[in-house]
């Protein structure tokens, strides 16, 4: 963290001598339970900025503590007193919904490195809003598609009872063609899944799909492994990212999960990203870090062509997305959300480190279900 304080301060000091032409405001989660995600996004983003060698970009980083009210305050401050040109960084969909619509309507560009709530992809889309990660349903849809190709016909599905959880189960059901052995909404933040696991045991399911991000997923996987049930598990990458896997340990081995990125995607940008990230921070990058890195590179590619002050030209440059993505080919759909390949990955152990390996493609050139509702 301190390194970035230094970097930011250095950028500020530099600004007094060399006028900073572009000001970027990053609001992300750096403290509390979900801090790992925000730290990864920030580190990936700042790595790309540092590698670009540009000293005319100032990044103002603030911690939203995962609280919508604080995110809104920070956003007001960044737009009104810091006068940022571009904003980014928000991890959680409920925070994005509180901040993004107001920001883009004040002529600020917003590049989302993570949250992709469905309203912002459909009816509430905006010409100044770009999502570099995914629409929220994407990875769950891919999990449903993977379950079909794996031959599962009867899934037991569970997710927390909040908007992103509902989206997750909707996304899975949109693509999964089999029957449902059971459908459970757990409590958000629940830590004990003994009751749900007992219901899975009592059902006649042949597979389990779950969306339990962060600590919830760690708890579920450990308890599931200890229960002795050996049904195959599928889920989105959020419960299997690099930051979490070490805490889950052997319980995650062999689990198939879906992601738009993995460290073994074979292209020079990705190989260089994984190597330099590990050298800089001493840990392997997660998908969140790759999203932060791609977001910064998208921004840099647009800045090469136009100034944010020339909004129309800058928007066209963003829309063209001419940058080297860690995911290989990258393109935006008509609603400024990615059209991309989503992979199936398997959790493996490399030496002492748990990580993921791509085992196949779940969905090719996948857009989202809301693009048709977007009138831009």
């Amino acid at each position: 963290m301190n390194r970035f304080m230094v970097a930011v301060t250095a950028a500020t000091l530099a600004a007094t001598t060399v006028a900073a032409d572009v000001k970027v405001g990053m609001i992300t989660t750096l403290s509390g339970g979900g801090a790992g995600l925000g730290i990864d996004v920030r580190d990936g983003f700042m790595l790309a900025i540092a590698q670009s060698g540009r000293d005319d970009i100032e990044v103002v980083i603030e911690d939203d503590q995962r609280k919508p009210d604080i995110a809104v305050q920070l956003s007001d401050k960044m737009i009104q007193s810091e006068r940022v040109d571009v904003m980014t960084g928000i991890i959680w969909s409920n925070l994005a919904m509180a901040v993004v619509p107001a920001a883009v309507n004040q002529n600020v560009f917003y590049l989302s490195p993570n949250a992709g709530p469905s309203p912002l992809a459909g009816k509430g889309c905006h010409q100044n809003y770009f999502n570099v990660a995914w629409q929220n349903d994407n990875l769950h849809e891919a999990a449903g598609a993977h379950a079909n190709s794996a031959g599962y016909t009867n899934s037991f599905i569970l997710a927390p009872n909040y908007p992103a959880g509902t989206d997750a189960l909707t996304g899975y059901k949109r693509f999964f063609e089999g029957e449902l052995a059971g459908e459970i909404y757990t409590q958000l933040g629940q830590t004990d899944y003994a009751a749900e696991i007992a219901q899975i045991r009592a059902s006649d399911a042949d597979s389990v799909f779950f969306f339990l991000p962060g600590g919830m997923g760690i708890s579920f996987l450990k308890q599931y492994a200890d229960s002795g049930i050996d049904l195959p598990v599928v889920g989105p990458a959020f419960s299997f990212d690099q930051g979490i896997l070490q805490a889950v340990g052997d319980a995650a081995l062999g689990v198939v999960n879906t992601s738009q990125w993995n460290k073994d995607i074979d292209n020079p940008t990705n190989a260089a990203f994984v190597e330099t990230f590990e050298a800089e921070y001493g840990r392997l990058p997660s998908l969140y870090a790759s999203q932060g890195f791609d977001t910064a590179n998208l921004l840099l590619s647009a800045l090469d062509k136009a100034e944010p002050s020339d909004a129309d030209a800058f928007r066209d440059a963003l829309r063209a997305a001419e940058f080297d993505s860690t995911r290989g080919d990258f393109a935006f759909g008509p609603n400024h959300h990615p059209v991309q390949t989503i992979y199936a990955r398997e959790v493996i152990k490399e030496g002492d480190i748990f990580t993921n390996k791509i085992i196949g493609t779940a969905l090719e050139a996948h857009s989202d279900a809301y693009a048709a509702d977007c009138k831009m």
Binding site: G33, A35, I39, Q187, G215, K222, S227, Q246, A247
Partner: protein, 306 residues
Amino acid sequence: MSSILIIEQILNGLQFGVMLFLMAAGLTLIFGVMGLINLAHGSLYMVGAFATAAVAGATGSFLLGLIAAMVAAALAGAIIEMVVIRRLYKAPHLDQVLATFALILIFSEGTRWLFGSFPLFLDIPDVISGPVTLPGGIAYPIYRLTLIAVGLAVAIGLWLLIERTRIGIQIRAGENDREMIAALGVDISKLYTLVFALGAALAGLAGGLVGAIQSVQIGMGEPVLILAFVVIVIGGIGSVRGAFVGALLVGLTDTLGGVFLPEFFKLFMETGAAQKTGSAISSMSVYVLMGIVLIWRPTGLFGARS
């Protein structure tokens, strides 16, 4: 729904209940003896989990980890009692809440500073991992049975300590009349530190035990803390017996409510909607239980004072 599933869910409820008891026992003792609302009790639970993960990771012994959890939490408890809490006994409850809330923030950021932002690894030792088949063909994790056994053993130990030892007499006397026992020559400030450390050690033990099947991460103590407060309100503030009964009631209500309410709504709703409604209402069930108990007995089940 088969009887096997129902018995399994009752065991789950019991296991949850005895772990809540470990948290609630300390909380209720501290409130009963010192009249202090300690919001930082959840942080001591987190300290226990992190100490277990660190020591078990370094030595490979889960048992050593648990001992470290109790020692670390007790030490942390004794230190905050002497440095911060001691100044608050005469202060109004609002000041106590404010100060102990500040302690939550200090513990959370301190832990992040020491261990980083990512969750730690802590797993069940191999000898007690995996399921065991109980009579009647119920496959149930050995570790959860161990948790029930440890929780019950601690409950008996605590009962013996409070009912049968000299310290226990002083604790009970402290609950009833602190001026009088000070006048009788008991060193009240030492007693307070001791009770605080004892409560902290129990919270630390719970954190270490539960950490093995959950996620060892910053902020893990606060959700448990809220339920522990519900437990002591139901049981009667200051009563360890009340905390025990209250913890089992809350554990069973929470677990069985989460299972049976969605089933109940399925009788007249379609599955997805029944699940959502049932899940929403079951998350209120322990608070409804608390409301009912308070209407029936305003001081809680075993609350002595009115």
